[in-house]
């Protein structure tokens, strides 16, 4: 079960209140009429499926009913950050790579965390992977 920080309600809520809505930061072609069928098909259907850092859109459907973004590690399930619509992530696959190279401990699979909550980091570290 995720414990998700809603950037609009400004507090953690149970996953039950939320719903995932697919990959974030997908831009609609500015002029759909002049886009090729293939490019339009890609826009509609083609999605990334990375192992590791992924940016997703979620909606706080039973709370404030706003959409927002989550940066999540698909291997560890760890939620690294949540941010509002229109904002850019501060953690990306590239920045996570830097963290790993610098020897900062990151989640690398096997267990599920309860969220990117600072007070939970100790809990995460104590959980055997």
């Amino acid at each position: 079960m995720f414990h998700i920080f809603c950037p609009y309600c400004q507090e953690y809520r149970e996953e039950e209140e939320f719903h995932p809505s697919g990959q974030a930061h997908i831009e609609r072609p500015a002029e759909p009429a002049s886009v090729s069928d293939e490019a339009w098909g890609d826009y509609l259907f083609l999605r990334d499926n990375p192992r590791g850092i992924h940016h997703e859109m979620w909606v706080h459907r039973l709370g404030c009913r706003k959409f927002f973004n989550i940066t999540r590690d698909t291997a560890s399930y760890e939620i690294l950050e949540t941010y509002r619509m229109g904002e850019q992530p501060s953690i990306t696959a590239a920045s996570a790579e830097v963290r790993r190279e610098q020897g900062v401990q990151t989640a690398d699979g096997g267990w599920q965390t309860v969220g990117a909550r600072p007070e939970n980091s100790r809990l995460n570290e104590e959980t055997p992977s």
């Binding site: 507090e11 149970e14 709370g63 009913r65």
Partner: protein
């Protein structure tokens, strides 16, 4: 039809929408039925009265529920002028007027729920529309779609703990806070207007379900669901 006006054309309220009074009174020949009407017919909801229990659930039917949408600054000015209450300054805020019978609740960054005594919402909506004029806003009267249940008594919190995922203890839900959350697989708005009271705003189509849940969860406390007369 009653003497008082029950409709307003756009040119009457200075806005861009026609409005009508959802509570035109008995003269109009319309008998209002709250979302708990079916529960009442089935005998699950009784008239208000009786001894104080460990827990009391009382419906406050036919209140005026308005949803305001728009920019916080614009709406705050209008609401302060017409209702004498400012919009809650923080997310999840709930403010009441001095009497405690009119409230404004934060719903999302551009959305507020205003609840006023029955019959006040029509004139309030017209006055707000007239004041807001050409500003970018929306006002929707949602009073027909939801109703308010008041929970009080020493066991009220225990009952909520069985029903919602939200933390209803003092640190999670202090006075002056209101949240949308999960209640027994459906959604409710859970409000804490005062030390002694919790409030649930339930949707019409789920109202009977919520009542049945409350009756079941509250059986051990001898819970009854009552409805106040309008």
């Amino acid at each position: 039809m009653s003497e008082a006006r029950s409709e307003a054309r756009p040119e009457d309220n200075g806005g861009n929408a026609a409005t009508f009074d959802a509570h035109p009174g008995a003269d109009a020949g319309v008998t209002p039925e709250s979302p708990l009407q079916w529960s009442r017919v089935q005998g699950r909801v009784t008239e208000e009265g009786g001894a104080a229990e460990q827990i009391r659930v009382v419906e406050r039917p036919f209140l005026g529920h308005l949803v305001l949408r728009g920019g916080a600054i614009t709406l705050d000015e209008a609401v302060r002028a017409e209702l004498g209450v400012s919009l809650p300054g923080k997310p999840l805020g709930l403010v009441l007027d001095a009497e405690g019978s009119r409230s404004v609740q934060w719903v999302s960054p551009d959305e507020w729920l205003v609840i006023v005594p029955a019959g006040e919402e029509f004139e309030l909506e017209n006055r707000l529309r007239a004041r807001l004029g050409d500003a970018h806003f929306a006002i929707v009267n949602v009073g027909g779609g939801q109703t308010l249940l008041e929970l009080s008594g020493e066991k009220a919190r225990e009952l909520l703990m069985k029903s919602v995922t939200y933390d209803v203890h003092e640190q999670g839900l202090p006075v002056g806070k209101a949240v949308g959350t999960v209640f027994a697989k459906t959604s409710v708005v859970l409000r804490r207007p005062s030390e002694a009271r919790f409030e649930l705003v339930v949707r019409r189509s789920f109202a009977d379900y919520c009542v049945r849940w409350l009756l079941d969860a509250g059986r051990e406390y001898g819970l009854r669901v009552e409805s106040a007369s309008p």
